[in-house]
Assembly symmetry: D2
Homo-oligomer: 405 residues x 4
Amino acid sequence: MTGRNVIIENLQQQPIESHMVEFVERKGLGHPDYIADSLSEELSLELCREYSKRFGTILHHNVDKVLLVGGEARPVFGGGEVISPIYIVMSGRATTEVDSNGAKEKIPVGRIAVESAKRWLKSSIRNLDTESHVIVDHRIGDGSTALVCNYDNKKGNACANDTSFGVGYAPWDTLENLVFDAERFVNSDYLKKRIPEVGEDVKVMGLRTGKEIKLTIAAAMVSKNIPDMSHYLSVKADLKKAIEDKITSKCEMPVEVYLNNADIPENGIAYLTVTGTSAEMGDDGETGRGNRSNGLITPQRPMSLEAAAGKNPVSHVGKIYNVMAASIADRVAKIKGVNEAYVKIVSQIGRPIDDPHMADVQVVSEGGMPLTSNMKAEIGAIIESEFGSIDKVTELILAKKVTLY
Amino acid sequence: MTGRNVIIENLQQQPIESHMVEFVERKGLGHPDYIADSLSEELSLELCREYSKRFGTILHHNVDKVLLVGGEARPVFGGGEVISPIYIVMSGRATTEVDSNGAKEKIPVGRIAVESAKRWLKSSIRNLDTESHVIVDHRIGDGSTALVCNYDNKKGNACANDTSFGVGYAPWDTLENLVFDAERFVNSDYLKKRIPEVGEDVKVMGLRTGKEIKLTIAAAMVSKNIPDMSHYLSVKADLKKAIEDKITSKCEMPVEVYLNNADIPENGIAYLTVTGTSAEMGDDGETGRGNRSNGLITPQRPMSLEAAAGKNPVSHVGKIYNVMAASIADRVAKIKGVNEAYVKIVSQIGRPIDDPHMADVQVVSEGGMPLTSNMKAEIGAIIESEFGSIDKVTELILAKKVTLY
Amino acid sequence: MTGRNVIIENLQQQPIESHMVEFVERKGLGHPDYIADSLSEELSLELCREYSKRFGTILHHNVDKVLLVGGEARPVFGGGEVISPIYIVMSGRATTEVDSNGAKEKIPVGRIAVESAKRWLKSSIRNLDTESHVIVDHRIGDGSTALVCNYDNKKGNACANDTSFGVGYAPWDTLENLVFDAERFVNSDYLKKRIPEVGEDVKVMGLRTGKEIKLTIAAAMVSKNIPDMSHYLSVKADLKKAIEDKITSKCEMPVEVYLNNADIPENGIAYLTVTGTSAEMGDDGETGRGNRSNGLITPQRPMSLEAAAGKNPVSHVGKIYNVMAASIADRVAKIKGVNEAYVKIVSQIGRPIDDPHMADVQVVSEGGMPLTSNMKAEIGAIIESEFGSIDKVTELILAKKVTLY
Amino acid sequence: MTGRNVIIENLQQQPIESHMVEFVERKGLGHPDYIADSLSEELSLELCREYSKRFGTILHHNVDKVLLVGGEARPVFGGGEVISPIYIVMSGRATTEVDSNGAKEKIPVGRIAVESAKRWLKSSIRNLDTESHVIVDHRIGDGSTALVCNYDNKKGNACANDTSFGVGYAPWDTLENLVFDAERFVNSDYLKKRIPEVGEDVKVMGLRTGKEIKLTIAAAMVSKNIPDMSHYLSVKADLKKAIEDKITSKCEMPVEVYLNNADIPENGIAYLTVTGTSAEMGDDGETGRGNRSNGLITPQRPMSLEAAAGKNPVSHVGKIYNVMAASIADRVAKIKGVNEAYVKIVSQIGRPIDDPHMADVQVVSEGGMPLTSNMKAEIGAIIESEFGSIDKVTELILAKKVTLY
């Protein structure tokens, strides 16, 4: 091992799955918080592309503050309309001007903010008309000098932009996998082709008690595709059956599925939307308020409160270290004798990001056995390898190959 | 004549054309003020349609306050880009909720505001991308009770919403016709097909001194269609020639055309835009700040300061009386012996709009001759006929058959 | 006379006062359009001060686009409340950054916009709480390069920023004086001390028919100071009497005063406001939509549509030439034998502002007599003297010694 | 025990304090996220007061979405200025209109949003001028029908508004207490009186490795009170000494304090602000992005991602259950034989809030001993008592007697 500050510890604790009670939640594609996260991240990616194209390098930005203010809609069976558009304000910081060979070059940050948001919405929320159902505004300011200078001073690796940390764990347990898969399935092309009545706003809450799981799913339905309540009920039945067939039946524990549980058909109450997202009806959303960087909300697991979405993938520890911690945990958890791995990485402002203030690996070993020196060496090597190729994290993020929310 | 308060007077004054100096201005299609006017009026028309469709009647609205905040752009020969989008806020008042058979029905005023604006922009400013070059926001409030009640109380004709007035005159003189025609020509399909490099932001200023006219035209050019300065100069030459051939050569006075006079080709200064409107570069616009309701700015003629655009065409005197005054003047000016006609109509708040507080017709007669009783009778009949069919004004406005700005 | 392009012409026309019908309007201190004008101008003045303090010169700005979106209020006798604040967005262009000895200095344009607006509102609208009754936002962009360069290139006098014109006339007639004085009186300290129930939103419309004047005044009353309808009616009576005693009784024509004519006391309808301005209840306002630069709206007189408010007082012809034209007209009208003077001044973009494209003086002489060579010489000298000391106009504007709206 | 769904389990795991590494963070009073939380909560409290005053009951609202967009400032020793104000948009949902005895009554939600925000800022951030350093806007919509109906249907206790959960734990360990106390001390009246140079934006990050603690504190300094670098350094020394004397010296572990660690005095780099908060310089903030409902960020402890701030304290489980879980944990942890207690409470939409879907109590017992039936009975009684007096949570929140962020 090198001089990196690494602590490896053997944690004596029950695996999560032996707890009597466990909750896991995932906010899906069309959830207002998910939309906010996506717009932050899409903007960051687009800025990366633009900075790279113009200057051969990714300049400072941190656009992890998008606010979505819900609109007003009147969904009715077979139709409906948006009364008042959703209002989205893109905010955060980005480098808007660069001195390039003596001349100032302006970066079209404002236009990119609006453009990238519209593009994502258009391609992701099928029934949302980006011309009339949503207003995309922006209030993105200049990057502050202090932060920008990280880049100017850059030698080799970027420096951490803040004193912050990332956390990760592995492996996922049954409930975590189930909740994630359920949402991905409901928002899959496969499902949407078969049941186009289903919108994108899907929220999955899993509750395990002992060995039994209750999966509560709220899925917004698209009103214009549903002529009446009886059609609605049949769509619900179809969707439930599809989830059971394709997802829950493969789970090793018995799973009960509750779908749109607040419906009261006899009173005409159903989860209808015009656009497929509850954002149309007043549910607000903010970047960083939904899923953690692994795509889940897991109260019983270590979580970071940093929003990964929208932060620059070069120097922002709140993004990079969360991805790395999960990646390290993944690899550590595969070591023979390891049941669970928990990883924390702390930065210190101004320190190169490949030289963290501390990396902490907690291992829950099989049978609580002490860690062997071989295991420790393997863990050390994993950390070494991950930090040695920290640029890959940036690349993975740029290639959209990691889940961030 | 009926009991309407009509005053007919014989005005002793030189016709405008005998003044030594005369200015006339017209802001064209893509000018920021013209855009603001258009968005106000399009919204009003769309609201009229929506109210009529839902309730069989046009409800109160007054959306004559649109603000366009210019963006930032970097036009360059052969390309260029928008740096920061134009920001437009639709504002004013409209009826947003109606008690209809005991149930409240919400009118999608916000969505219509955004939708109608985008639609107009898309169809009018060819090189403006409504998804990324412009942000359309709205802050439209409820109609105030006092004004709304005009409609509830409506019996026969609507009541005036304000103490206000309209003015009109006829006929147009040489310079007025020339300025109007020049702008319409530059923004005609004919011209745009032949010289697609020409944008929509066209401003025409005419100055007559004695019998000579100088026509100063500023026409935004679209940068992506113009590879270099030499192409720019040839486009300018073509445009100038076209104007001379089709418009100014037909004028009875000698006309000198000045096109994009602030250009300094040797310094690379040309009137280039990415989108065809100077709104992209920081020129702001507001409803009611551009052309008067006849489509011109004519300092030497009576003008009203009311914005016709965006006002409801049923009870808003600032709109209806301006259109009527012009229409009356037109007809009066055709009476034998009449050289010029000036018409003013004053409302009184709460009074039916077909019963104005006063209608004043000033006639400049041929040779300053006194008005004959026949002439007066004809004028009276015209007024009678116009007020007797005041609903036609509303219809003409709804059919977009009158110029309003 | 010098080489300046001056045209002097003898106009054969009736004086305005011999027309049968004349309208004059003035929007007073608390009217939404007047507020917008004031906030534009106050911001311009504050920017002038700031630029001068920092750089010894006034830099480019043009902040003549303020939008006020009316709020919502519930005034009731003896109290009431603001439901939703007035929303004001300050917009336009200003120089936000200056290269000063190699270092960039930022000008706090955004803060000044908000600060100056709040300060004016606080000191002008007595019952408006600037912390809770109003939201002041800003969207002021950078000055565009093309315009800014006027200043860099400045030698001696600034260059005109646009092809534009100013108009002025003199003397004011009876109705014009009356309307102006009436508003000033209702908004005077004298009156407000005596009748504090009267708000600032005062609109005066004067209509002269033959030799009789009807003065229609709408004056917002402050609800918390008025316990009930009977108090309201007595306030109205007091105000009417004060106006008659102090203003209309001194008029040479008989004047009938109509005060808050839309009131229907028996139905409880009175012109009540919480704050003293109708902006609280949904009346929107925009810079440049109210009074012309002499403080009046006069359809029968030549008017410019330029907003004087908010434009920079150094190079913006839309401001300077309007002030100058009025000043020249004033002086010309005092020449013996002159009844009325009408002045127009045209700029040409890029031309020094003291060298106008043309100055046109129209004189209505006593008895229609031809102008003597002496009169012409006097007029020429006035123009010469005004243009020779054009900087004084800037100084007068900075010292707030000229009416601009 | 009653029929409530309670699960009590004995958790086999090391106490947190035996982990080798632990992080705890607290964002203090003037941190942008803390400001956003505070403005959300202050608005909720004010709405509660207003609804209670008018209707005798607290109506639906959920204003947990405030966005703060950082401004721009130029702090310099002995002075400095705000260049561009902080922009805050209050958003979320609230009941804006109530049918009360047949008449509609409007609630001044917009005004209250602006007013309560200004009031909090004025009283909390001493050097922030609410008239010029900040713009407070709002975009609060109506509560959606579905949620509002909870209130209409209310019988006895309110129903849960969502399927959600709260988590809590006790007791706090050494590091958690230290981090919390440190921030509270730096923002205490005591400290601010002695060292007024210290601003409100204080962020404390604690890192424990084994038995040693590093406390990294970032404290914004107020530039106008600090004439030069040497004064700055002495203020830092004084502040550090005060923290050591009053806080860290009382800690049972050795603590090293790092204060404003990014300073580079020799390069003139110091943590200066004009207003005492980094919000002035571009740090954005959002409700729910900072401290969890116990006032800390603790990655190694169960955390909920719900923002407690701004939610209504009557039916919003994301607020009430988080407070209750902490309260239950507190009481359970005091039971003899209990080392640590972890509590989770799950709601189900539509179910009365005093009848949770499940309450889960995990106990880490002394020495890992099994829970006795007495202990279980005590725990059951605590839960019973807490749910039996669930209204007290609402009262405590209304009285501002619980930490929420």
